[in-house]
C-alpha cells in the first residue's frame, strides 16, 4: 500500500502522529522526522518509555500509545521489527487509522492485523522522505521521486 495516490491521501489526512521510539538525541533519524513533521504542520505525540514524563520538541512524552490523552490519526513506529505487533494492537485499540513502519521495520503480521481491521498500513518507508517526495523538498537533493505530473504541487 505505497503507491503515490495512497501515500498522498494518508499524508494529507493524518495530521496527528504518534511517534513510537522517538529519540531525544537531535542527530537520530526519529528526531529528524519529528522536527520535519512539526515544521510541515503536523502535531507529533512522542512515545518512549525511557523518556515518559519529560517534554520532547515541546510535547509531553508518554510510555505507550495507550496513555495518549487524545486520538491520533497515525502511529509511526521507530522500533525493531520484532517489537511492532503489540504496538499495532494498541494502535487498533485507540482508533488510529494508519500504522506506519519506518525504513527497515517490516512486521508482516502487524501489517496483516491492521489491514484486516480496515486501517492503512505502510512498511519500510520513512514519513519524512515520502512527504518530501510527494509534496516537494526531496527533489531538491536530487532524489528520483518518480512523480510525473502536469499539476502544480499542493501540500
Amino acid at each position: 500500500m505505497d503507491d503515490i495516490v495512497t501515500l498522498r491521501r494518508i499524508l494529507k489526512t493524518s495530521r496527528k502522529i504518534a511517534m513510537v521510539g522517538l529519540s531525544d538525541q537531535w542527530y537520530r533519524p526519529s528526531h529528524f522526522v519529528a522536527k520535519y513533521l512539526q515544521q510541515h504542520g503536523y502535531r507529533i505525540f512522542p512515545v518512549n518509555p525511557r523518556l515518559a514524563g519529560s517534554m520532547l520538541l515541546g510535547e509531553p512524552v508518554v510510555a505507550s500509545v495507550l496513555e495518549l490523552k487524545e486520538p491520533v490519526d497515525m502511529v509511526d513506529v521507530f522500533r525493531r521489527t520484532q517489537d511492532v505487533l503489540p504496538i499495532a494492537e494498541q494502535a487498533l485499540r485507540i482508533g488510529a487509522r494508519v500504522l506506519w513502519q519506518q525504513i527497515g521495520v517490516v512486521n508482516r503480521e502487524a501489517d496483516a492485523l491492521v489491514r484486516a481491521a480496515g486501517m492503512d498500513s505502510v512498511m519500510d518507508r520513512c514519513v519524512k522522505i515520502e512527504h518530501g517526495r510527494i509534496f516537494g523538498g526531496l527533489n531538491w537533493v536530487g532524489v528520483n521521486t518518480r512523480v510525473i505530473s502536469a499539476k502544480r504541487p499542493v501540500g
Binding site: 503507491d3 542527530y27 520535519y36 518530501g132 516537494g136 527533489n139 532524489v143 510525473i148 505530473s149 499539476k151
Partner: protein
Amino acid sequence: MADRRFHPETLAIHAGQIPDAATGARALPIYQTTSFVFDSADHAASLFNLQTFGNVYSRLSNPTVAALEERVAALEGGRAAVACASGMAAEATALMTILQAGDHVVAAAALYGGTVTMLAVNLKKFGVESTFVDATDPAAFAAAMKPNTRAVFAESLGNPSLVVLDIAAVAAVAHAHGVPLVIDNTVPSPFLCNPLALGADIVVHSATKYLGGHGTTLAGVVVERGDFPWGNGKFPGMTEPSPGYHGVIFFETFGDFAFTMRCRMETQRVYGAALAPLAAWQILQGVETLPLRMERHCANALAVAQALRADPRVAWVNYPGLEDHPQHALMKRQMRGASGLLAFGVKGGVAGGVRFIEAAQFMSHLVNIGDTRTLISHPASTTHRQLDEVQQRAAGVLPDMVRISVGLEHIDDILWDIDQALAKASV
C-alpha cells in the same frame, strides 16, 4: 493502483520537473540565485543540521540543478543523483566520497585519458593507489583486487577504445569483495545503456556529451542505485558520525540515498565543483530530445562504419555495432545501440590520418564527443597525449587512430565529407 513505470522517452521530458509551485511555469525556471532565505533561525538550524529539506546555497543545491539531477537519476533507474561542474568533477566527486588515503582502486585500462591521469597521478598524491587491468577480462579485475580495494572503476563503452565492458561480470567481482562498481556511462548515455540495471552501484556521466548533446555546456552527474551495503565495515565515512555535521551518520539517516547526500553535503560542499543553474538548464534542453538524437547518432554511425569497412583506402574500422567487433554480442545484450563513436585507421598511418583530419570540410577537428556536429580527432596527439605509448596502447589508442563522433547531419553529407577527405588523405 501501482504507480506507472514510464518509458525513457517520457522521463527525458518530464522526470524531475513538475509545474513550478510558486508560479505555475510549465518549462523549467532558471533559479539564478546563490542563496535562499530562511523562514526563521530555527528553520536555518534545521537546514544546516540536514533535518529538513530545503535550499541554502547553490553550491549545495539549487532547484534548477535539482531538476537535471532527478532527470538523470530517473533515466538511469537510480535512486538519486548529484550534478557537478563537469564530467571530471563528477568522477572526482564520486571517487573522493568513496575513498580515503590508503585505499586502492581497480580500474579498466581502457579509459578516457583524463581519468587515467586522475587515478594514476592526482589521487595517488592523496595516498590512493590504482591498478589498471584489461577491460575485456573480468578475471583480470578479480586478480587485481587487494584487501584495501574500495572501488572498481570502468567505462561501459570505452572512449576511444570502444571496448564494451561486461558490466554484470565485473559487478560480481566487485561485490564479492564488498566494494562498489563505478561506471562511466558517458558514451552510451542512459538511453542506450543502464549500468545500474546490470549490477553497477554508481554511474558517472560527462553530461557535456550526449546528455547535453549540443556541444555548448560542461556538466557532470553522479547517480547511485541505492542498495549498496555501505554498512559492511569497509566504508567508515558512511557509517561513522560525520565531524562536519556534529555526528550525523549518513547511511543511517539517509538510507538508500546516503551516498548522494555525502557527495553533496561533504565532498561538493567542501571542494565546490557545483553546477551552475544556467548550465543545468542548458543541459536539460538537450536531455529532452536524448532518445531521438541517440537513435539517429546510432543509425548514422553504423552507416559510416559500414562505408569505411567497404573502403579500400581504410586500414581498419572499430565500431561495436559491426558484427565482427569482438564484443558485438555483449553490446547487443547490454545496449539498445552502439552509440555514435567509432574509430578507424587511414592507410598511410599517422600521416594519412592527419591529412584526413585536415581535409575535412564540415567535420570539426576538436576533442569533444556527442555533439550534433560530426567531430573528428587524433587521440594519440590530443586527448591521450599525456599518456606514454604503453599507456596509450592499454587505453586502446593506436598511433594511426582517427576518432569520429558521428553527428546528426544528413548521412549522405557525412559520407560525402569522409569520401572527399579520404581522397585527399590518400594522395
